[in-house]
């Protein structure tokens, strides 16, 4: 019941903000990783932990892959992966995936 409510709400509100929509020089706080668990764990080991600040660095020609600054290091991700990393504030509801307590 509640799940369907959430879905409707998301469609009406602004689309969930992801790393993909971060502009160069802009920061965001990571909320959750919408990826299979082993991939999410690997990203978390690289610093992409919920609650951490993520910034945008330079990118390859054409903008893909893009370098993200997180937890003291710089990690390049393809945009298809960046689109699965959701930022806090964009989607106010904690959902499934690996949440930040």
């Amino acid at each position: 019941m509640q799940l369907s409510f959430r879905k409707r709400r998301r469609r009406d509100a602004l689309p969930a903000r992801t790393l993909l929509e971060l502009q160069p020089g802009e920061d965001g706080i990571l909320d959750r990783l919408d990826l299979p668990e082993d991939v999410a764990r690997r990203l978390m080991e690289l610093g992409f932990l919920p609650g951490h600040v993520v910034g945008v660095g330079r990118s390859a020609p054409g903008g893909d892959p893009r370098v993200f600054r997180v937890d003291g290091s710089e990690v390049a991700l393809r945009l298809e992966t960046a689109a699965r990393l959701h930022l806090r504030g964009g989607n106010p509801l904690p959902t499934t995936g690996i949440d930040c307590p």
Binding site: L46, R58, A60, P61, D64, D71, S73, E74, V75, R78
Partner: protein, 644 residues
């Protein structure tokens, strides 16, 4: 292959962990990628090190010896760089197994945990599981000079109190603080007290966010002040990753590497050829017996020499790869190349190995180690030999000079001969990318491991690590030349010189090689090849360029690519279709024992090299067949026949 092959004490069996007084003390080096682990290992061991592969898996590690207290030595194992001990990849599995003592003969007595102290929050994630093993551990905080230079601070004593393990603040590049590491290693000989209590409970270990919060608390307790962002790295990235300038610099680097391995290596390679030839003649002049002289000079010396010639080129290539990798540019190059490589189902990190393959597939296959994703790595290894390596050049040069009339095609810019050569390069490249697509959409399909690449800060490569890398690669290369190539050279010589007729060496047609050539001729007929080419194909199984020398022997002409006599003899003995088919055959076929041997080593078994050999042979046969039949007009006749 046992990894502690030349470690005498291993013969008696290593002492179990914790026992003291035994001769072999094993210390494992553990750390995340980019922590400077290998630099520290190089500083501790110097030349007393070697590369080994763990049996059964394709994970490389290095073992070395560090001298402590006069005559006592400690064995160091440089484990693969890992972010955690959760065994998911091969690297992590091996690191985990060794640290928990599952690998026979390799149980470490103590651990050096190397962490980058400019990024301690994240690197401490690995400290929790490693310290939880409760082996005597020294926490090495590397890059102390960087931390200071960028305004960060840490209190090692406070960190040591928090972790319950000794802490050393060092710089492996400059050698600062390294004596504390040596003290710890020396102490292993007399025994250390292990880490007393588990730091964090196991359920917490599995929870990365909780582990990360633990790391923050530890950092706060140790008065850790993270350094400011690396200014020089940001500045350099604004050049190397500039939307326009970045790709241009990237192209310039590629051209430079190409130019050096072809143009600049040439004089050295010519010098090597002359040296091998004249030393062969000198050796020959000291051997009275004709047959033995022929075996040693024409068989062994020329055979091994034909491979040794490539050593300068390979070393130059590895020097470049070393500079690119150690400086941090390689990660940027992989980033820039990723978009293009993705179209073929590969990724950015495949680029440098494939570029290397234009010189030689052997270093390319070795360079593929930088690709962590196993399937991408296998795909890269599988297609690398299709790139036009320099061993194909003598064959191409000979056949093109013999059969292609050099008419101008594009004014003075492009002649027919150069165009043919270029066409063969394109052909190999197309075959490679189509094979990559085929592999990545079938047996090597992978979608669950997205591309993620850490961008390390730029650093000056050190002469020490570059030098050690070259020594290391030379050893691998020379060992192969001394074993596989030596054996094949002897076998080929025997095949070409036996059976004796009335105590004399037979002419090539009635030798074993000739008999084999005649036997395979019916299979090669449809490709337009005769029995002489058949022998050439057999001998070139050792290395592609060997066919030039073999054809020289068979036709009784000087066996070099520029020999006019050999070109004319070939011209009158082969059709144009057969010659073109031969070029295509060499573009596709896996005529290289060295590559097969290295692929077996790197993939940890015969499965991939056998598959590769079968696939490339099939491709070569089919390609040569189509070319020869088309040139002879058979295919169009067949098509017309079918159409009727």
């Amino acid at each position: 292959m046992s990894s502690c092959h030349d470690c005498k004490s291993c013969a008696a069996g290593p002492p179990p962990p914790g026992s003291h007084g035994g001769p072999a003390h094993i210390i494992a080096l553990v750390g995340p990628p980019n922590s400077g682990k290998s630099t520290l290992f190089n500083r501790l061991t110097g030349l007393r090190q070697k590369v080994a592969n763990f049996p059964g898996v394709t994970v490389e590690h290095r073992v070395g010896r560090a001298k402590v207290n006069h005559d006592r030595e400690v064995m160091l194992i440089d484990l693969p760089g890992v972010y955690s001990l959760n065994p998911r990849s091969d690297d992590e599995q091996v690191t985990h197994d060794i640290l928990v003592g599952k690998r026979e003969g390799m149980q470490p007595e103590a651990v050096l945990l190397i962490l980058d102290c400019t990024n301690l929050g994240r690197h401490l994630l690995l400290a929790a599981p490693v310290l939880n093993l409760r082996l005597p551990t020294l926490v090495v905080l590397n890059m102390a000079d960087d931390l200071r230079g960028r305004g960060g601070t840490i209190d090692p004593a406070a960190l040591s109190a928090q972790l319950g393990a000794p802490v050393a603040l060092v710089s492996a590049t400059t050698g600062e603080g390294i004596e504390k590491v040596f003290q710890f290693i020396a102490g292993t000989a007399v025994g250390h007290s292990p880490v007393k209590a588990p730091l964090v409970q196991l359920p917490v270990l599995k929870d990365i966010p909780k582990c990360r919060r633990w790391a923050t608390e530890v950092n706060n307790g140790a008065a850790y002040q993270a350094p400011s962002p690396p200014r020089w790295t940001r500045r350099l990235d604004s050049i190397f990753l500039h939307p326009v300038g970045g790709p241009l610099i990237f192209l310039a680097v590629v051209v430079l590497v190409f130019q050096s391995i072809f143009a600049w290596a040439k004089p050295i390679m010519n010098g090597m050829t002359d040296l091998i030839q004249s030393s062969g003649n000198w050796i020959g002049s000291h051997i009275p017996d004709e047959i033995i002289r022929s075996l040693i000079v024409d068989g062994i010396w020329a055979g091994v020499g034909s491979v040794l010639v490539f050593l300068p080129q390979i070393l130059l290539l590895f020097l470049f790869i070393g500079i690119l990798e150690d400086s941090g540019y390689l990660a940027r190059a992989a980033l820039i190349a990723d978009r293009t490589m993705r179209k073929f189902g590969l990724q950015g990190k495949s680029f440098i190995p494939l570029l290397s393959a234009y010189a030689c597939a052997v270093p390319a296959v070795m360079a593929a180690r930088t690709i962590e994703n196993k399937r991408d790595r296998l795909a890269t290894i599988m297609i690398a030999p299709l790139m036009t390596c320099s061993a194909r050049l003598p064959v191409y040069t000979l056949i093109i000079a013999a059969f292609i009339v050099d008419r101008p095609l594009l004014g003075p810019f492009l002649g027919a001969q150069a165009a043919t050569m270029l066409g063969l390069y394109v052909l190999g490249f197309l075959a490679a990318i189509m094979t990559a697509r085929l592999l990545k959409s079938s047996i090597l399909k992978s979608e669950r491991t997205p591309f993620m690449l850490e961008m390390p800060p730029y650093r000056w490569p050190t002469l020490r690590s570059l030098g050690l890398r070259l020594v290391d690669r030379s050893k691998v290369f020379l060992r192969r030349a001394g074993t596989v190539i030596l054996t094949v050279s002897i076998v080929l010589w025997v095949a070409a010189h036996l059976p004796l007729h009335d105590g004399k060496v037979p002419n090539i047609e009635s030798s074993f090689a000739g008999i084999i050539g005649h036997t395979v001729e019916p299979i090669l007929r449809p490709l337009g090849f005769n029995w002489k080419i058949g022998i050439g194909l057999l001998t070139s199984l050792a290395a592609r360029e060997v066919i030039v020398g073999t054809l020289g022997t068979i036709y009784g002409m000087e066996g070099t690519a520029h020999s006019q006599g050999l070109q004319q003899a070939l011209h009158s003995d082969l059709t144009l279709g057969g010659a073109l088919a031969l070029l295509v055959f060499f573009a596709f076929a896996m005529q290289c024992m060295s590559t097969l041997a290295i692929v077996r080593r790197e993939t940890g078994g015969w499965k991939w090299p056998v598959l590769q050999f079968a696939y490339m042979s099939l491709l070569a046969y089919a390609g040569a067949f189509v070319v020869n039949q088309t040139a002879n007009g058979n295919l169009s006749r067949l098509a017309a026949f079918v159409a009727h």
